[in-house]
């Protein structure tokens, strides 16, 4: 099986080199080489603000004619998963609202399809409250992935216990911590929809979550799923502010403002370290992809080292 995989990777590499697109050019670092030189590649795929866009935009759409579509996204994700070992697929909220699929079925199909595509996690956007807290809760059983948020206190709502503040994923020994933050609901969502949800300061909660993931969970990569927006009005915090203030975040996968960033932008955090801010517009028109290559002592080498050391010292004593 492994051989087969390698072969298919090789043939993919050839194709990608011939194809020569920016996306595929990275794969010119063959996975076989990565293994020998103790490099591990983690592939992050992301969407945001898909807004119930199951089908591509119709051909007469003034702006996005023929773009998007779940069947295409599913095929692309499947292809990337066949080429890469360590894939994490994430969404940054506003899954709901925008086509009659939501008006008629309340988000059931959106969650089913995301589950089929193998989403690893999402956070919650303001429009995910559009059928009220109860409307969201009602559809949760169609989703087989967690809803991650650390700044909405749902304890006095039907969502109580149905979200997690953060989650650690381990891929090929690399620990990836994911947490989520949501936007202030007052003035954006009708109170009767979000009920007794309490909005907590996203910068503070993000700092706590990121610190926990980096220093207590010892994550190698910390990702924030944010529905704060790339820009904001009235002095409210946005992804750029969050990136600059932060300490332990490596990547912010943003949403809300429907901002098309061709590639994530780089900012400096308060420790002068790099933070990436990503967002891929909306409606599932694009799939974002970020490959992080880690260099490390591989497990195998570490264990060899240990056995030699012990035996030598033991003899000396």
């Amino acid at each position: 099986m492994e051989e087969l995989n390698l072969n298919s990777r090789r043939s993919f590499l050839k194709k990608s080199l011939i194809g020569g697109t920016g996306i595929l050019a990275f794969s010119a670092i063959p996975n076989e080489v990565l293994a020998k030189t103790d490099l591990v590649k983690i592939t992050i795929l992301h969407t945001n603000d898909v807004h119930s866009h199951i089908e591509p935009f119709p051909d007469n759409d003034p702006k996005f004619a023929g773009l998007g579509g779940v069947v295409r996204r599913a095929a692309l994700i499947k292809k990337i998963r066949s080429e890469e070992k360590n894939v994490l697929l994430l969404d940054a909220g506003d899954i709901f609202q925008g086509t009659p699929y939501f008006n008629l079925y309340g988000g059931e199909l959106e969650f089913k399809l995301m589950s089929m595509m193998g989403y690893d996690a999402t956070t919650i956007g303001n429009h995910d409250f559009d059928n009220g807290i109860d409307g969201l809760v009602k559809q949760l059983h169609h989703a087989n992935f967690p809803f991650i948020n650390c700044n909405y206190d749902f304890s006095d709502t039907a969502m109580n216990g149905k979200t997690i503040p953060h989650k650690v994923f381990i891929k090929d020994g690399i620990k990836i911590g994911v947490f989520g933050v949501g936007i202030e609901l007052d003035g954006l969502v009708d109170k009767k929809m979000y009920g007794n949800t309490i909005y907590l300061n996203p910068a503070e909660k993000a700092a706590q979550a990121a610190h926990h993931l980096k220093h207590e969970e010892k994550c190698d990569l910390v990702i924030c799923l944010s529905h704060l927006g790339y820009t904001s009005k009235g002095g409210k915090i946005n992804d750029v502010d969050l990136a600059k203030q932060s300490k332990n975040i490596d990547l912010i996968i943003g949403a809300h403002t429907h901002t098309f960033l061709d590639t994530p932008l780089e900012y400096e955090n308060s420790d002068q370290k790099k933070v990436l801010v990503a967002q891929v517009g909306w409606a599932g028109i694009k799939l974002g992809r970020i490959d992080f290559v880690f260099e490390r002592k591989t497990k195998k080498k570490a264990s060899e080292g240990y056995s030699i050391k012990i035996s030598k010292k033991s003899i000396a004593i």
Binding site: R72, L76, G98, V293
Partner: protein
């Protein structure tokens, strides 16, 4: 107390173990991209089976053509063809249904640009397209505002580079109102005005604070979306098409 070789070995092992753990993996390369999904993308046909039953039922309802538009209706500020069309349609359909005790119809309609969720193409407009334009289950309300509050409404509109509205004309300069006419007449701060909007905005959505403390609030059990659909259906019955362009109802100068 003597330290046995075994214990020492354990200690050394532990030290080494700690040391080896502290060399955490480092990011040495990051490759970033975004991939557009378009007609050239391949499709995973297995997903069609899941979507099909939902789609068939939905299409039967949503593919109905309501009217033909002569041109695409687009979003924009300070004024847009789409914003003006929706506001006009909502004001007209509201006044057809609105039968208040004082018999005074609504003067203006104010919506928000962010609430227009899709643009309308040239050609056939389907029911589904209107659902995309106005997906929210927001109902129409009619607020009676004092002259002062009405002025605040237009102050905010001018300061914020416009909004979708109907029933008035505004000229602004340097973020201040120069001229304001409601229903073709000069604005009078001593009068009250009736404003059609959505329950979402009336409740303070999009920071429309001038809607707070209205003199009176009337509700119609009528969705904004249904008002737009009814307008299209009725115009189509009359043999009309949609011919909408910006008409200069708001003019802003620096």
């Amino acid at each position: 107390m003597k330290t046995s070789p075994k214990k020492l070995a354990c200690l050394l092992f532990s030290l080494y173990f700690l040391w080896s753990c502290s060399t955490s993996p480092k990011i040495v390369k990051v490759e970033k991209s975004s991939i557009e999904l378009n007609a050239k993308s391949t499709s995973d046909s297995s997903f069609y089976q899941t979507i099909a039953p939902y789609k068939t039922k939905m299409d039967a309802i949503m593919n109905e053509v309501l009217i033909v538009s002569e041109q695409a209706l687009l979003k924009g500020l300070p004024e847009s063809s789409l914003g003006s069309f929706v506001s006009d349609a909502v004001l007209i359909k509201t006044n057809e249904r609105y039968k208040p005790a004082d018999n005074i119809p609504a003067d203006i309609c104010l919506l928000n640009n962010g609430g227009l969720r899709a643009q309308l193409p040239q050609g056939e407009i389907t029911r589904g397209k209107v659902f995309e334009l106005m997906p929210f289950e927001n109902s129409i309300v009619i607020l009676t505002l004092s002259g002062e509050k009405t002025k605040q409404l237009f102050d905010a509109m001018v300061a914020n580079n416009g909004a979708p509205f109907a029933g008035a004309t505004v000229i602004g300069k340097g973020k201040k109102i120069q001229e304001l006419k409601i229903g073709g007449k000069e604005f009078d701060i001593n009068k009250t005005y009736k404003v059609v909007t959505s329950d979402y905005l009336a409740a303070g959505g999009d920071k429309y604070d001038f809607f707070k403390n209205s003199v009176k609030t009337d509700t119609l059990n009528y969705l904004l979306r249904d008002a737009i659909i009814d307008y299209m259906v009725d115009e189509h019955k009359k043999g009309h098409t949609l011919k909408y362009a910006t008409d200069g109802r708001i003019k802003l100068e620096q």
